[in-house]
């Protein structure tokens, strides 16, 4: 019997980010407009596996999901054991631009979720002309913290389990149990302190209040979509952000939470297909 294979393929790309050599893992499927997908804090590119396997998307888009440095199957940089990982606006932006350049992508679409959504807003602020369109999932210029990140990395609390348990509440109760637990599994597999290091960008370094007002959607269209059950980046946070950006297209997604692409792929598809349709038609 022939093997049953998912359509995406995975490879490693060598590149320099701010002068440091990296080896990043990515998966891709399809052909057409490059669509680069950015995973949430403390997770990896597997969150986008349903988009990578959707013929309606891959028939028009080359979908690419990479694991950020320190995440998933990407190798941490040499000497990682002597440093404390901390993501910043500058390092995150440099990573995305370096990846797009390394793969020689021509004006890709970038879609990011959570911290990926926040950095998409920064791409719109600082590098809009490099992108065909930007899609920010579960994104806002700022959000109120709802727990102390010190609990995420300490020897007396299992990091994987506490990370997963904390974010479990951000998944909508309607999401299928299998998809919920697959989403949680990815959080249980993060490296020690990595989720916490990502949240440094989210909570401390990545405040984009005021800056989002400078986004010009004539240069690059911007779409914002947020699940109604996301109490970390609330619908109100996203609507407030969108209201400051003329031309931004915003939608609140019913019965979805903070991880729409992995917690309920079928429901998310109903929202993202029309957005991708508009981008492809532009």
């Amino acid at each position: 019997m022939a093997p049953v294979l998912d359509p995406m393929v995975g490879r490693y790309v060598r590149l320099d980010i701010d002068g440091t050599p990296h080896r990043l893992y990515f998966e891709e499927a399809g052909s057409g407009i490059p669509l680069v997908c950015l995973h949430t804090a403390g997770a990896d590119g597997r969150q986008f596996r349903h988009l990578l396997a959707d013929p309606e998307i891959t028939s028009r888009f080359r979908v690419i999901a990479f694991d950020m440095p320190w995440h998933g199957k990407s190798t941490p940089p040499d000497g990682w054991e002597k440093t404390e990982y901390r993501l910043t606006t500058a390092s995150y932006t440099a990573t995305i631009r370096a990846f797009c350049q390394a793969l020689e992508l021509d004006r890709p679409v970038v879609m990011g979720c959570s911290i990926g959504g926040r950095i998409v807003l920064n791409l719109a602020i600082a590098h809009a002309a490099e992108f065909r369109a930007l899609v920010a999932l579960e994104a806002a210029d700022f959000q109120q913290p709802w727990y102390d990140t010190a609990w995420l990395h300490r020897p007396d609390v299992h990091g994987g389990e506490v990370c997963a348990a904390l974010i479990s509440g951000l998944i909508a109760p309607q999401s299928p149990p299998v998809s919920r637990h697959e989403t949680l599994w990815m959080y249980m597999q993060g490296g020690p302190g990595i989720f916490k290091g990502d949240l440094y960008f989210y909570r401390v370094d990545g405040d984009l209040r005021e800056k989002v007002k400078s986004i010009d959607t004539d240069v690059c269209p911007l779409y914002l979509l947020t699940g109604e059950y996301d109490f970390s980046c609330t619908a109100e946070d996203t609507l407030r952000t969108a209201a400051q950006i003329p031309g931004a297209q915003v939608q609140v997604m019913k019965e979805l939470g903070h991880f729409p692409m992995s917690e309920n792929p079928a429901r998310f598809r109903e929202y993202i297909l029309p957005v991708l349709e508009k981008i492809a038609a532009a």
Partner: protein
């Protein structure tokens, strides 16, 4: 039925959940859960309820307390809770609940406690 009356059924709800008992097998702790103004004192031993007392107890030590308003528990225990009421941290973020005391055992067993405190959703009386 008041939220406290719902929570009073916790022993039966937990003993019916073999998976939650299995996941709590490393956990033993004394904690307090306040349903509005009514305190409940829980003694958990290897994930099971060794003791469960309703009402004020003078000078009873507890490691940590989870408290929320009657309204918060009422919304939290709806069979399909509304956005913003569906998770303990959604409740604390909106100011309708709080955690106090030594939170280490709570965080070490966070999914267990989230699931334990959501069990009243399974009651036939759940709104």
């Amino acid at each position: 039925m008041t939220p406290a009356d719902c929570f009073a059924k916790l022993p039966d709800l937990l003993s019916d959940d073999a998976d939650l008992l299995r996941r709590g097998r490393w956990l033993s702790v004394d904690c307090r859960i306040d349903i509005g103004s009514e305190p409940f004192h829980l003694t958990l031993a290897q994930g099971a309820l060794a003791a469960f007392e309703r009402g004020p107890r003078l000078m009873l030590s507890t490691v940590f307390t989870v408290r929320a308003t009657d309204d918060a528990w009422h919304h939290h225990w709806r069979r399909m809770p509304e956005p913003g009421w569906h998770d303990l941290f959604a409740l604390t973020k909106r100011g309708a609940a709080s955690f106090e005391g030594d939170l280490r055992p709570l965080l070490q067993n966070l999914q267990y406690f989230k699931d334990l405190l959501a069990l009243p959703r399974r009651l036939p009386e759940a709104p």
